[in-house]
Symmetry: C2
Subunit: 206 residues, 2 copies
C-alpha cells in the first residue's frame, strides 16, 4: 500500500470506530481525528467532506464483510451448516463494530439526503448474495417453484436490518434477539436437511 492509501485507510477505520463507539451525532471531523490520532486536516486531504468520509467508511466495511461472507458460505450445502456459519459471521459483525457503525449510519441517514440512497446502494451486493444462496438451497427441492429466491434475499436483508434496529432502539448492544432467532431456527434447518437435503445436495452447485 502506498503511504497515501495507508493514511486514507487509517482515516476510514477511525471514522468507523467513532461511529460505533460515539454514535452518528458525535461523529464530527474533530472526533474522528482525535480517535485516529491525526490532525482534522488529514481528513480533508483525502475526502471532500465528512459525509464523503462516512460513505467511504460504509463502502470499506461492507466490502470487507461481504468478502468474508462469500468465503465462508461458498461451499456450504446443508441448512444446519449454513445456520451455524451465519451465526459465527454475525458474531464477527458485532465484534468488529460493523453492526454498530452501519446502524449509526442508518439512523443518521434521516438527517442527510445523500446517505440513505448510498446505504441502499451498498446493500445491493448483499441482496445478490442472499438471493444466490436461497437459489442454491431451493434448487431441485419441491419449494423451487413456490418460494422465489429474490424475495427470500430481500426478506433476509430486511430481517437483519430490522433486528439491528430493534436491538439499537433498546440500547441493548448485546445479541439477545438475534441469538434467540439463530437458536430457534436450528430445528427448522435440521428438518429442511432431513426432508430436502438429499435433493438439494445433488443440485448444490446449480
Amino acid at each position: 500500500m502506498s503511504p497515501r492509501t495507508e493514511t486514507r485507510e487509517r482515516v476510514v477505520r477511525a471514522a468507523l470506530r467513532t461511529l460505533a463507539e460515539e454514535g452518528f451525532a458525535a461523529t464530527s471531523a474533530r472526533a474522528v481525528a482525535r480517535r485516529g490520532g491525526f490532525a482534522p486536516g488529514v481528513i480533508y486531504y483525502h475526502f471532500d467532506d465528512l459525509e464523503h468520509l462516512l460513505l467511504a467508511a460504509l463502502e470499506w466495511t461492507s466490502d470487507l464483510r461481504l468478502t468474508r461472507y462469500r468465503e465462508e458460505l461458498a461451499g456450504v450445502t446443508g441448512a444446519a451448516e449454513l445456520l451455524a456459519r451465519l451465526r459465527a459471521l454475525y458474531a464477527e459483525d458485532v465484534a468488529e463494530g460493523h453492526v454498530a457503525a452501519v446502524q449509526e449510519l442508518v439512523a443518521g441517514a434521516s438527517s442527510s439526503p445523500r446517505l440513505g440512497p448510498a446505504i441502499v446502494e451498498r446493500l445491493r451486493p448483499w441482496l445478490g448474495l442472499t438471493e444466490e444462496i436461497a437459489r442454491r438451497f431451493l434448487a431441485d427441492t419441491p419449494l423451487e417453484h413456490v418460494v422465489p429466491p429474490r424475495e427470500v434475499g430481500l426478506a433476509v436483508v430486511a430481517l437483519y436490518l430490522g433486528l439491528e434496529t430493534l436491538t439499537h432502539l433498546d440500547r441493548d448492544r448485546d445479541r439477545a434477539m438475534a441469538e434467540s432467532l439463530f437458536a430457534a431456527a436450528g430445528p427448522a434447518a435440521a428438518l429442511f436437511d432431513s426432508l430436502l437435503g438429499h435433493a438439494h445436495e445433488g443440485g448444490a452447485q446449480g
Copy 2:
C-alpha cells in the same frame, strides 16, 4: 370526549401528520402548532415537552392500528386469507401515515435517549399479536414443535421494521418492496393451506 381530551387528541394528530410529512428533524412544537392550527402554548398545556408529545403520538397511532389488526385477523383461519388481510392492513398503515410517522420516530430515536426504549415498549403488544397468530397457525401441524411462535413473532416484527427502514433509506415512500414480498408469499401461503390447512382448521382456536 371532554373538550380537554378533544384538544389533546387534536395535538396528537397534528404531531403525527407533522412527523409523517415533514420528518423528525422538522417536527418542532412550532411546526406541530402551525399544522394543527393552534398556538404552541396548547402543546405545553397538555404535554411536559415535545418528546412527551411524540411518545403520546406513538402510543395513540400504535393502539389504533393494533385494535384494527386484532379485529381484522381474529377470525382468519387460512394462510392465503391471512396474507390478503395483512396486505390490506399494511396499505392502510401507509395511507394513514402510520408507517411514515413511526419510521421518523425510529430514525429520530438515535438523537433522543428516551424515545428508543419507548418505541420498543410500544412494539411489545405487536410481538404478542404476531406470536399469537403464529401459534394459531402452527397448532396441530407437523411444524408445531419445530417452529417456535415467539421467534416467528419477533422475526415478523423485525421484518416489517427492516422493510420500512429500507424503503425510507431509499426515499421511496411507495410500497414496492413490501408489495413484492406480499406477492411472492402467495404461492407459499397456498401451499401451506393445501398441505397443512385441514390440520390447522381443527385447531384454529387453540
